[in-house]
Amino acid sequence: MVSEKAAVEAFPQFLNRRGLELVRAETTVLQINVGLLCNLTCRHCHLEAGPARHELMNMGVAQAVIDFTRRHVFRVIDITGGAPEMNPVLPHLIQSLSPLTTELILRSNLTLMADGGNDHILDLCTGRRVTIVCSFPSLHKGQFESQRGKDVFARVVAALRKLNSRGYGLPDTGLKLDLVSNPTGAFLAASQEQVEKKFRLELERNFGITFTNLYAFGNVPLGRFKQWLVQTGNYEGYMQKLISSFNPCALSGLMCRSLISVSWDGYLYDCDFNQAANIPLGGGKTHISKIEMVPAKGSFIGTGDHCYACTSGAGFT
């Protein structure tokens, strides 16, 4: 039974009834989506990235992003995709952006780091002290691969070991290796503290792997994950679960308050999820080459039903 009939209250109205509002704070984080091409087809991907996607940031847009970061200092710059390693502009971005920020993050599915084909990127990341963030949904191989694809578990484990051998995720090296655990279905994320403790123990015991931090985030009802929810009859129940676990305390720390997200073609959004939902920053499409400054404190943030995911439980920061 395919159903998407959940009567979801508009998010701003939901906040308003509780005397709350969502507006921008100081913008300190730039997230760059370098494209939707990916070697994996993860079932929770809100951007529907995959091998059949051909949208990639070109050198012109990459240079516009770099020029913008020279005009505005970001504390954190976060490169994501798709699989960023599949975009030839990635080395140029890492070289150019790493001196311009306190922390440069590369989100990688790690499968392309395991086989040696991208050692030049790994060398660059190591040399520039780039933080590497990888999705690791579950310690259970079957559940892990139900989300990320067949045979991915072993490849990610191999890549994590390789990163550890280079000093990533080890204490006192300054090379941060962070994991993100998303639920492998239509249920909420477990307590981040408990999951981190369990993963640290079992990854060390079973595979000799260490990491720096673990983040436990819920899945956002957009893109491929939303399609799965609707197709399996889970959409209504999941939305109800998100709404009933709304946490007003999560609002102040939401990433959309301090981040701007630039898409592969250079347009700006309040977050990666608004990019997937096609809700542009400020209500109208703006190219990164056309803006002079980041949005002011107190500016409007575009919202949609997916915002209930970021405000449920511990929140999505």
């Binding site: 259970h140 079957g142 559940q143 639920p183 249920f187 994320a189 477990a190 307590s191 408990q194």
Partner: protein, 110 residues
């Protein structure tokens, strides 16, 4: 009414306090206290509840504690082992009564 179990009834569990509010309130207060972290974590308590749910074969409890186990960070391997613990105890309880069968048979047999 043409069936005994209905998914939507689980959400009405609290209505059971309607005719006996004092006892109902005490039960739900106790229930909430039981599942708070103590010497055992919330995750461990949910795994125990899942095993018990299978022993008493309560579909409401199985639904609730399957979701609770996943949301407390247990994985399918751990949850399946918990169900095997329930099965072993339940099966063992049947089998150990075979000794009674043997005792009775022995008593009345030549």
């Amino acid at each position: 009414m043409d069936y005994y179990y209905k998914v939507g009834d689980l959400a009405k569990f609290g209505d059971i306090t309607g005719e006996a509010s004092e006892m109902g309130a005490k039960f739900f207060e106790y229930y909430a206290a039981v599942f708070k972290e103590g010497a055992l974590t919330e995750r461990e308590k949910s795994l125990i509840a899942l095993a018990v749910a299978h022993t008493i074969q309560c579909p409401y409890c199985i639904d609730t504690y399957t979701q609770a186990c996943l949301e407390k960070g247990s994985n399918l391997g751990e949850m399946t082992e918990a169900v095997h613990v329930a099965a072993a105890i339940r099966g063992g309880a049947a089998l150990v009564h075979g000794i009674q069968m043997r005792n009775v048979a022995e008593k009345i047999s030549m």
